[in-house]
């Protein structure tokens, strides 16, 4: 999963060193390495990832899109309770996963299932929350992926504390923390950025600015020139990237991750992208945005542009394309199979994990429930009422 990348490292950010304004402020325009037509864009600071890396990313995008669309279908079929799709944001999702080493950690939100799966979590495990079987369904330590966070921005602080502990032990772990544009308005965003900068911990904050927080547009979240302009207020570098250009995401995140790894402290990266679907299936986005606005973003789709780029360069052959599509179909089929089976849920689980030892109060409550269940069963067996 690790890309051979050659991020352009700038020699700043060592602990105690002051960076200049130019180093802390983001560019006026987001970094873009492949434009919407698939053409490479020259850049002074960031290098285009090589074609092997781009092909890996392309596979990720195709799988990610398939996962998104499969999950949305499963919601319609009643197999998932809810799905916040990252359709349109796959370049951010895959870029985030690929920017990290296996030993690094990801702190995702509810919208980041694709990134979670790209880190190696089985799709069905990633969907446990959304299916309603439990609050989280994967082994966070096996995959080094924190549980997907629902309360906005709270996970950013966890990421900072996690990185602090890693740094204290002298490990070279980097922590990538995800959040949305809306979440940047929360107090916890501020506190996390500040703690990260003051303690100079190896964290990269990656904001997927998809223009909306449910129905609320970015203009109601901030009056700043960009979200990345917040970085200087904490003394960390901020950067903006075209979030639908996976090459640029990889390059910018890659640089930030390497800086963090080499002791250069935290970075704030803002990706400009767009939420192509409603917030979740429960949402109705026709209430708050024009179809034309959504349509306009189709032309900037992260898959199309990379497809064009790789086809033109000859790196992506028909054969490879077919193989990738088939792989994605396999993932989707496995998801369907897994989610069409009802898990065998144990009510005692409600009491099992609250604390390490079960308190007498909880044991008493469980016994009460167990008795109820047994009486129910009895009643059902004997055909009685209650």
């Amino acid at each position: 999963m690790i890309l051979a990348m050659h991020p352009v490292l700038i020699g700043f950010g060592k602990e105690g060193e002051r960076m200049t304004h130019a180093e802390l402020l983001p560019r006026d325009e987001a970094v873009q390495l492949i434009d919407a037509t698939g053409t490479a864009v020259a850049d002074d600071d960031y290098r285009l990832p090589d074609s092997t890396a781009l092909l890996t990313a392309y596979r990720g995008l195709v799988e990610g899109r398939r996962i998104n669309d499969q999950a949305s279908a499963l919601v319609r079929q009643g197999r998932l309770a809810v799905y916040p799709s990252s359709h349109g944001q796959e370049a951010c999702q895959i870029g985030a996963a690929l920017a990290l080493r296996d030993s690094d950690w990801l702190f995702p939100t509810y919208r980041d299932s694709v990134a979670v799966i790209a880190r190696g979590v089985a799709p069905a495990d990633a969907m446990v929350l959304l299916k309603g079987d439990w609050h989280s369904g994967y082994d966070v330590r096996e995959h080094r992926v924190a549980p997907q966070a629902t309360p906005l921005a709270t996970q950013l602080l966890h990421a900072v504390g996690f990185a602090y502990a890693a740094k204290q032990r002298g490990e070279d772990t980097v922590v990538l923390a995800l959040c949305g544009d809306g979440a940047t308005s929360e107090g916890d965003f501020h506190e996390a950025m500040n703690f990260a900068a003051v303690f100079h911990v190896p964290v990269v904050f990656f904001v997927q600015n998809n223009e909306f927080a449910i129905s609320v547009p970015l203009s109601r979240q901030t009056a700043a020139p960009s979200l990345a302009h917040k970085a200087i207020g904490y003394g960390m570098p901020g950067q903006r990237v075209d979030g639908n250009d996976v090459a640029a995401v990889l390059a910018v995140l890659g640089e930030a991750v390497e800086r963090a790894r080499s002791g250069g402290g935290p970075t704030l990266v803002e990706a400009h992208t767009y939420r192509m679907q409603a917030h979740t299936n429960a949402d109705d986005d026709t209430r708050y945005r024009e179809r034309e606005e959504v349509q306009a973003w189709v032309a900037r789709d992260p898959l199309t542009r990379l497809h064009a780029h790789l086809t033109t360069s000859g790196a992506l052959t028909d054969e490879l394309e077919k193989e990738i599509t088939a792989g994605a179909e396999e993932i989707a089929a496995a998801m369907r199979a897994a989610l069409n089976t009802d898990a065998d849920l144990d009510p005692e689980d409600l009491f099992r994990f609250v604390t390490t030892e079960r308190s007498p109060q909880l044991q008493e409550q469980w016994h009460q429930l167990r008795d109820e269940i047994e009486r129910d069963r009895e009643a059902q067996r004997s055909g009685g009422m209650r």
Partner: protein
Amino acid sequence: MTITHDHIELDAPETSVRTLSMAAALNLTLADAIAEDPAVVVFGEDVGALGGVFRITDGLTARFGEDRCFDTPLAESGIVGTAVGMAMNGLRPVVELQFDAFALPAFEQIVSHVAKLPNRTRGGVRMPMVIRIPFGGGIGGVEHHCDSSEAYYAHTPGLTIVSPSTPQDAYSLLRAAITSPDPVVFLEPKKLYWTKGEVDTSATVDIGSARIARDGTDVTLIAYGASVALALEAADASAAEGRSVQVVDVRSLTPFDDETVTNAVRSTGRAVVIAEAPGFASVASEIQARVFERCFEYLEAPVRRVTGFDTPYAPPKLEHWYLPDVDRILDAVDSLHWEDRP
């Protein structure tokens, strides 16, 4: 962003009694309050164009403009904290916090200021403010979307806490909350949003008054919010078994209507308190303790409670085990020393 004091074109006068869902009743209340009092402002996350994730503010921005109903940046302490400042300066903010768990970032503002500013200033600053929170479970929501956090607020002096269980009370209690000079936490039982009932917009209800939701002579069920519907179901089921069950809808958690509740329990001698929240140090335990103290000589049996477990709220597929249900209530009723009865 200036209040238009001109007359707002209201829809043609409507009959004052109609059948509405609780959600529609709440929407109507907000519209009526905005139309009536230029100081009322409704704001929060997604309450504008979207009309709120439960559509309680549906159409308000379109009808009354951005000055009267608007979206804020995504920050709950910000929402409540700015509401405090607005209330200090002549407005009557009615804010929506999207779910119980997402009200928590505002907890310091609520406890340290909303609840205390009037007392701090010897009444010099009042806090005419309503904090609306869709609360409770039973809708298959994922983690953080189904909590019942009334105990946090009820334990905080200075706050008024109400929760309706019918469309009528939704209308009348929310009107009363908006008119109140004191800060009110208004808990909307999500599970009942779509239940319908008659709403008389001219009917008023006093904050601080409980309601006898059903008469009965053998045992008193005490509940609020979504649990009232459950208590009524249990009362029906119990009637089928020959017991006459009284149901009290607490309605106003603070101030608490001791008189109605005490009289009810004294009349039956037996009581069960029902609530979804975890039971420990809860409003249910408070009611249980109060009833015990005030009805000690009248009780035939210990007062019981049927509450959520002292565990985090269950995931959707397990919530039917977590939530109080009719059987659990009937079991509690069964345990009330009926054999000792004269």
